[in-house]
């Protein structure tokens, strides 16, 4: 049964589209396993360009998932990012939903086959 029919669609969990995007998932995963990092560290670990990373961080920041702090260290501007509680919870929920989706796809659920 295709997932986009009415029955299948209604059974799909609400996936957080903001985290679902691979680049943002990578950022969220990295920030989840560390405490906080400088912009440059995140950029190096995720292999993104600074413009690309900046855009994704802004989106995650706007959603309230990460805290972005800009400060001057030795007169040089530095950006530090950390995943806040809301972001951590959202990331954990997303992973749970995806796990559930893969282990129990909507098309194969007992209720869907009716």
């Amino acid at each position: 049964m295709p997932a986009n029919n009415d029955t299948g669609k209604s059974k799909l969990p609400e996936i957080d589209r903001l985290i679902h995007e691979p680049a943002r998932y990578n950022i969220m995963a990295l920030l989840y396993v560390i405490e906080k990092a400088e912009f440059l560290f995140v950029q190096n670990q995720t292999n993104m360009t600074s413009g690309n990373l900046s855009t994704h961080l802004s989106k995650l920041g706007a959603a309230g998932y990460i805290d972005i702090k800009k400060r001057f260290v030795s007169k040089k501007p530095k950006t530090f990012v950390r995943l806040n509680e809301k972001g951590r919870k959202a990331f954990e929920e997303y992973r749970e939903q995806m796990k559930e989706l893969f282990t129990n796809p909507p098309a194969f659920r007992e209720n869907d086959s009716v």
Binding site: V33, I34, N44, N47, M48, K76, K78
Partner: protein, 206 residues
Amino acid sequence: MNTPYSLKELERRAYRSTFEDGIYDILFGLLFLIFAAIPILEAAGLSRFIGYSLLIIPPALPLLGKRLITIPRMGAVEFGPRRKSRRRLILIITGIVIFLMLPIMISTVSNGLSGSMGWMVIALLALPVFIIAVYAMDFPRLWIYAALLLAGPVESEFLLRYIGSPLNTSISFGLPGVVVLIVGLSLLFSFIQKYPKVAPEANHAG
């Protein structure tokens, strides 16, 4: 983008990337070379304590190297509570071991425990710190360095019969020291190439 599925693996990969700079390898290479230089300095008529006082120089290397080379190129990072508590553990245990073992080390040195026996005692004292450091730092190359450190006095004893003192000790610590230093310097060279220094504004979300 190649993201490992397991978050634990991702954390370990991010953590171990902070050792890509080879600074700790250079630190251990220098420590070995100082161990190698002490008997030569002593043979040249310098006090044994002058040689030992050189040992305080390499530990300053990570502090300066991380600040001047690694962080400007790779960016600063703070790991989670598990890593922090491991770091605290290594500091506490190293402090305790040094505090307890320093008197033994000083008396070994001042009583002039001859030849490689003195080195054996020193290497055995340093070994627990190495093992704890390997565990706490999660830095696998350190196992090899710990083995080299322990092998040093054994090699020294073996070489004594063929080349005599102090060259036996200098060679048995100097050769691994040079190898470790070369490993560290080549890692540092690759690190500098891999992570070029960025303009301040590039380390900054617009």
